[in-house]
Each structure stands twice: as structure tokens, then as C-alpha cells.
Amino acid sequence: MESATVALGHHAEEHHGPPEANQSSRIDKQTLGILLFIVSEVMLFGAFFASYFFLRVVVSPAAWPPHPYELPVPVAGVNTAILVSSSFTVHYALESIRRGNREGMKLGLLLTWMLGATFLFIQINEYVHLGFSARDLSFGSIFYCLTGLHGAHVFVGLMLLSFATIRAFRGHFGPKAEDHLGVEVPGIYWHFVDVMWIIVYVTVYIL
């Protein structure tokens, strides 16, 4: 047994970097990482949805939204459409760079960014005009927290997209799979933000 023990220590100093790690799965690190991060984000929303369930179903107030509060369902619907369309533009950006179309990528990223910013602007505008605050009943609290939590995610998504956009305009990224992870990973996150909004919108505004 002892003979099988090989001490490799003394060679180490001669090397200038770590050995290349073995890639033991088809999925690459960044993509897997962002997917796991999204799992954990989904659970964070899950905690607030759980709270929503308790406040609305378990406590079961007489009316929801409670009298006299109202939610601007159509405006938010338009806003939903804006956000959903940005999923397509970010997909377009990714497809473009896959085919080597740098201009398409830049356009797609810019459009996505602008759509996202518009969404956020309309959302804040909605807050200003709602006429109730997070202090008004549990309804106000959970409304602002669910939509606000989502808004914060849009904000983070916009930051990631800005990084990708800046880099795109500075000439980074290429058609090879490992050369456009910087577009793909924010893109995955952005899709998640969109899907999450659909769930939030349906639960909070429509149901």
C-alpha cells in the first residue's frame, strides 16, 4: 500500500499554472452555474409566493384586492407584452452572434436593454399612481414585495445585459460556443426574468 503513495510535491514549483481540468460533463461550467443560480432564485420567489398563498388563501379576506384598491390590469398587460418581446430580441442577439453577425448581436442587445428599461419605467410609474403603499394591509405588502422583487431582478438582468452590450460594442464575442458565453449566460437569466414575470403577472394581477 505504502508503495502506491507517490508524493508529487517537489515538481510543483517548476510549473507556472494549474493543469487543465478534465471536462467530465457536456454542459459547461457557466451555463450550469447560471441554471443552478436560477433554481435558487425560483425558490426565493417561492418563499414570497408561499407568503402570498397564506395571505390570500389561508387568511382568506373578504375580497382580493381588498376594497377599494384596484390593480391596473391592462397597463400591466401591455407591460408584460413589452417584457416578453424582449425575450425574442435577446434570443435574436444570441442567434446572430452564433452565425457571426456582430451587428445583429449589437442591435438585439440594445433592443433588449431598451425594452427592459421601458418595462421598469412603466412599473415604477405604476407604483407612483397606484394609490396604496406597502403599508396598506397585507395585500399592499405582498403586492409590492412580489413585483418589487421581480423589479430588482429586472434591474440585475439589465446590469448583466449592459455588461454584455458594452463588451459587444468593444468587439468581444465570436461565433464559437465558448466565445459568446457572455451573451448566452445573461440571456438565460433574462429569459428567467421574463418567465418569472408571467407567473407574477398571472398570480398577482389576473387570478
Binding site: A62, A63, P66
Partner: protein, 263 residues
């Protein structure tokens, strides 16, 4: 290839150890005095669990010490053990047997739970009000009179306690009754007890409720029905208006009418 284990002797040792531990453990009255119909049922369940647990514990201990005694390496012995990777039959056995044991325990507990929570025909309802750091009690069937810091109940009659907390969560526990229930602000919780021994006990708050938590106690008197009637009749004060209102607002699941007003 490798030797056989003295299964019979080991089993005998396990049984002997189980018997010894159980004998000692069962001879001690762990939970203290029993003073409600639920208490003996819960204690029986506990005793059954003590025997089962002694068995599981003995099994682990005997198996461990036998291995330590029998398979300890001699000083200087550098060789390896037998390359045994597993034994499917054994593995199935130690998956199935614990499953059966815990399912039995689960079924038994379920039965006990059903029995101790069965509502009787003619229960006495008592409102329990808890606040930092005091208990008070209302008797809705007796003109809603109330008593502060002292609970009286008749013996051998089922009591349904309706609990209301005013500020934070408290918990209602009379160890001799074996029954405990949280008092939650905004909802009414219920505990069912049938005291079956006359005596004086202590009501203990068991949910952390602030710096006075340790001293949030009340006196509990279980007395014959006649004496109880006399005591209630002697109560002059009624449950104060705000508390009585909070009782109306509380429901089992619904804290307060939501449209009633802002924060």
C-alpha cells in the same frame, strides 16, 4: 472465506441489553404525575417507544462493540480487511425492518392522537387570554366572567380551551395534563383536555415571548364540580370589552376582516 458470526449469541446480548435498559427506563416515571385522560395514553405510547428505542440502541451498541472486540487489528498488523462490498439481503432487511417499525409507531401515534382529541358531548368551554406576561381566563358559558392568573376547572369533564394571544405567541402547557398549544395572535387555537385528578398544578408558558417568558405562569386548580360552580359564582368581573371583541374577530383561520381598515 471468512468466519461466521455468532448471530444467536449476539441476538441474546441485544435482547438482554434491551430488557435491562427498558427495565430501568420504565421503572422511572419520566413525565411526572398524570392528571388527565390523555396523560396515560401518551405515557403508554412513550413507554412503547422506550422499549423500541432501547432495542434499536442495544442493536447498534452490541453490533459496534462486538465488531470492536472481534475485528480490532493486532498491533503491527498492516493488512487489509476482507473485501466485502455488501450483501443485498442484509441491505433489504435493514431498509424494511425500520420501515415497519416506524410505520407501526406512526399508526399507533395516530390512534392516540385521535383519542386524545375526540370532542365530548358536553364540554366546558374556557377562553384563555395570554399577553406579555400574564394569563387570564374567561368562562363564556357562565356569563363570560373572568379570572386573572388563576384557572379553575371541574374534574372529569372535558374542557375545550379556546386560546387568544394579545401580542406575541405564547404557549399553554400544564405538564401533568401532557397537553400543550400555542396561543397565536389573530387566530383561535383549541386544546382539549379532560382533567381526571383533583389538585393544584402550574400552567407554564412554553413559547419564548420576551424577557418575562420564564415567569409567565398561572395557578391551575382542578376541583369537584360543586366547588367549581361555587368558585365561578364568586367571580364578579366580566371579560373586558376589548378582549371580548378580539375573541369575536379571531377565527380558526381568519385573523381579521381584511377590508376593515388600514394599518
Amino acid at each position: 472465506m471468512y468466519g461466521r458470526l455468532p448471530i444467536v449469541k449476539m441476538l441474546a446480548a441485544i435482547v438482554a441489553l434491551t430488557a435491562a435498559i427498558s427495565a430501568v427506563m420504565l421503572s422511572i416515571n419520566w413525565d411526572g404525575q398524570e392528571a388527565s385522560t390523555a396523560a396515560s395514553k401518551i405515557d403508554d405510547l412513550l413507554n412503547v417507544m422506550i422499549v423500541i428505542s432501547s432495542f434499536v440502541f442495544s442493536l447498534v451498541v452490541v453490533a459496534l462493540f462486538y465488531a470492536l472486540w472481534k475485528f480490532k487489528a493486532k498491533p503491527g498488523d498492516e493488512s487489509d480487511g476482507e473485501p466485502i462490498h455488501g450483501n443485498t439481503r442484509l441491505e433489504i432487511a435493514w431498509t424494511l425492518i425500520p420501515t415497519i417499525i416506524v410505520l407501526f409507531g406512526g399508526g399507533y401515534s395516530w390512534k392516540v392522537l385521535d383519542e386524545i382529541e375526540k370532542p365530548a358531548k358536553n364540554p366546558l368551554t374556557v377562553d384563555v387570554f395570554s399577553q406579555q406576561y400574564a394569563w387570564s381566563f374567561g368562562y363564556p358559558g357562565k356569563g363570560n366572567v373572568w379570572s386573572q392568573g388563576e384557572l379553575h376547572v371541574p374534574v372529569n369533564r372535558q374542557i375545550q380551551f379556546k386560546m387568544h394571544a394579545q401580542d406575541v405567541i405564547h404557549s399553554f402547557w400544564v405538564p401533568e395534563w401532557r397537553i400543550k398549544k400555542d396561543n397565536v395572535p389573530g387566530i383561535t387555537t383549541t386544546a382539549i383536555v379532560t382533567p381526571d385528578k383533583v389538585g393544584t398544578y402550574q400552567l407554564v408558558c412554553t413559547e419564548l415571548c420576551g424577557f418575562g417568558h420564564a415567569t409567565m405562569r398561572a395557578k391551575v386548580v382542578v376541583e369537584p364540580p360543586g366547588q367549581f360552580q361555587k368558585w365561578v359564582a364568586g367571580l364578579k368581573e366580566k371579560v373586558p370589552q376589548p378582549l371580548a371583541e378580539s375573541v369575536v374577530q379571531d377565527t380558526e383561520t381568519n385573523p381579521a376582516p381584511l377590508s376593515a381598515g388600514g394599518a
